[in-house]
């Protein structure tokens, strides 16, 4: 990759030369195109390469379940707090799972303090849909007393470093934090819920789903796991969510059209990625067992 970065890039149409960094700032699209033409990405990855992914479970002791996920520089922390409430009258046997994504101003210069940005709302909504449509968790297991009391799991996802592909990080963080949740035994007595001090109950997850995201450049180059710069330049993106049997759960496609071959490639890559994430989380589980 050295042959692109170290030379000054000459703007072909005028005889003015820029340094690589300046060129990137002024004409980001052209900058990325020069790399893509040489079959490499600006950070040195090949098109099919995911960034290094790590999962750290039980990192927040004040939460009932927590997980920190890093994909390259992108960092998302998910903390789950369990509280008690009355079930919805329409679903007296069901508890609640409330996922919210916070893209705080700490993670990127593009976010400002205040209520959630549009992007954060979209992320939260997509996660919520994924949980509901794919039936990740049986909400009836969260019931304490039918029609009287049920658990409310607040899953708050905080992005600490925004370097692209936050949705994938959020899905992994949410799933692994759900696996990490330990609830106390709770009983309903005369209008109040009493819980034991020890937290032992593990959530029963029906279906565990992971996602893989892709960016499409110039309608033909498929970039796996795009970083912030690639995401901001490419207008088209594909996100594929699969479960443990390789079944599809969700596909989000933004921007212009893509061929069915490209979609098939994305799906098969998402399945490969699923296996990788499973083993990463297994390692994380072993790591906390050792500490305990």
């Amino acid at each position: 990759m050295g042959n692109v970065t170290n030379e000054n890039i000459i703007n072909l149409n005028t005889a003015i030369t820029f340094e690589a960094e300046t060129f990137r700032r002024i004409q980001p699209e052209e900058y990325l195109r020069r790399y893509i033409q040489q079959h490499v990405r600006p950070d040195g990855r090949s098109f099919n390469h995911f960034r290094k992914t790590t999962v750290n479970l039980s990192c927040i002791t004040t939460a009932d379940g927590s997980s920190m996920v890093r994909i390259g520089n992108t960092t998302v922390i998910c903390g789950i707090k369990a509280e008690v409430s009355e079930p919805n009258v329409n679903f007296p046997k069901e508890g609640y799972l409330v996922p919210n994504v916070d893209l705080s101003p700490i993670c990127s210069p593009r976010f400002k303090p205040g209520p959630p940005s549009e992007q954060a709302q979209v992320l939260s909504e997509n996660l919520n849909k994924l949980l509901k449509n794919s039936k990740v968790i049986d909400l009836e297991t969260l019931c304490i007393e039918e029609g009287k009391a049920a658990w409310v799991l607040f899953a708050d996802l905080v992005c600490v470093n925004y370097d692209g592909n936050v949705f994938d990080a959020c899905v992994i963080a949410l799933m692994s934090a759900l696996m990490n949740v330990r609830l106390p035994e709770a009983v309903y007595e005369d209008g109040i819920v009493k819980a034991t001090e020890e937290k032992t109950i593990i959530l029963g997850l029906i279906r565990i789903t992971y996602s893989a995201s892709f960016a499409m450049f110039d309608g033909q180059h498929l970039l796996v796991d795009p970083n912030e710069m690639e995401e901001s330049i490419t207008k088209d993106g594909i996100t594929v969510v699969v479960d443990e049997t390789g079944k599809l759960c969700n596909i989000w496609k933004t921007g212009s059209s893509c061929s069915s071959e490209q979609l098939k490639t994305c799906i098969s890559k998402a399945r490969d990625r699923y296996a990788d994430i499973t083993s990463i989380i297994e390692i994380a589980k072993q790591a906390i067992k050792k500490i305990e």
């Binding site: 990192c59 927040i60 002791t61 004040t62 939460a63 927590s66 520089n73 960092t75 922390i77 903390g79 789950i80 707090k81 369990a82 509280e83 008690v84 409430s85 009355e86 919805n88 609640y96 409330v98 996922p99 919210n100 916070d102 705080s104 101003p105 700490i106 993670c107 990127s108 210069p109 303090p113 209520p115 959630p116 709302q121 939260s124 909504e125 919520n128 409310v152 607040f154 708050d156 905080v158 600490v160 470093n161 925004y162 370097d163 106390p184 709770a186 109040i192 819920v193 009493k194 819980a195 034991t196 001090e197 020890e198 912030e228």
Partner: protein
């Protein structure tokens, strides 16, 4: 905040369950017979500090601090264009501290509450004297602090100041000196340095001191609760000593980051 359509809403009223203590421990003993605290520290010891810079790649400067269970991340953005439409020959400093919803024992609401606003103002007051804002006309420095886990409010506040000061230095912003901060609690006539949440619940008052060790100047001091003057004086002395120790940790982490970058 019912009906906030920008967030996924849970049920309107939720409460934390009442926890039945399996055994009646009564009052927890804060110190044992040898004068050691529950985690093996002496009264004047602080928790071990883990401090690292540059974890947030998108920020101009960043730092992460961990004191056992207290975990805080800080990102510094700027100098960037001031959005306030008034000319100023001096730079603006903007501090914001945010507790994540899962950071405390009870779930915090995601929107900014009064306590966060107050703490943000206090962090600003502690840091502003150390930064050379006169060199940055028309610009703003934004300091965002995110508390990931909170184990003691006063110590958390002190750690946030320390962390933010290192992040500002990491951003390459000119400053007079770094600000180290530490807290002390008054419990039954004793001074507990850097107390955790359990100890804090028993305190009669607390002190947070922000200090520039190299210039030997105090930038901020916050004393609350009822306490004898002599005890306060002693606490201030202990805090300044401890700040100098924290200062060496801060310098060390900055030097490490430079060494790593050179290699």
């Amino acid at each position: 905040m019912a009906g906030d359509r920008r967030r996924i809403q849970g049920p309107e009223v939720t409460v934390a369950p009442i926890i039945i203590k399996s055994s009646d421990k009564g009052k927890i003993q804060l110190t044992d017979a040898n004068g050691q605290r529950r985690d093996g520290r002496n009264l004047e010891d602080i928790r071990p500090i883990f401090l690292k810079t540059g974890l947030i790649s998108q920020a101009n400067g960043s730092a992460y601090i961990e004191l056992r269970r207290t975990k805080i991340a800080c990102g510094v953005y700027g100098p960037r264009q001031t959005k306030i439409p008034s000319f100023s020959g001096k730079g603006n400093l903007n501090c914001e501290i945010k507790f994540t919803p899962f950071s405390c024992l009870k779930r915090r609401q995601p929107y900014r509450d009064a306590q966060e606003k107050e703490l943000s103002q206090l962090v600003f007051e502690a840091l502003a004297p150390s930064i050379r804002l006169d060199l940055l006309p028309k610009s703003t420095i934004d300091i965002y602090i995110s508390v990931l886990e909170n184990d003691g409010m006063a110590s958390c506040f002190a750690a946030a100041i320390t962390c933010a000061s290192v992040a500002v230095a990491d951003a390459g912003i000119e400053m007079l000196d770094q600000v180290a901060a530490c807290s002390a609690s008054y419990i039954d006539g004793d001074i507990y340095m850097d107390s955790d949440l359990v100890e804090e619940q028993r305190e009669s008052g607390s002190l947070v001191l922000s200090y520039m060790p190299s210039l030997n100047e105090v930038t901020h001091i916050l004393q609350s609760g009822e306490v004898e003057v002599s005890l306060t004086t002693q606490a201030i002395e202990q805090c300044t000593d401890t700040c100098s120790k924290i200062y060496s940790v801060m310098n060390h982490s900055l030097l490490e980051s430079v060494k790593n970058r050179i290699q």
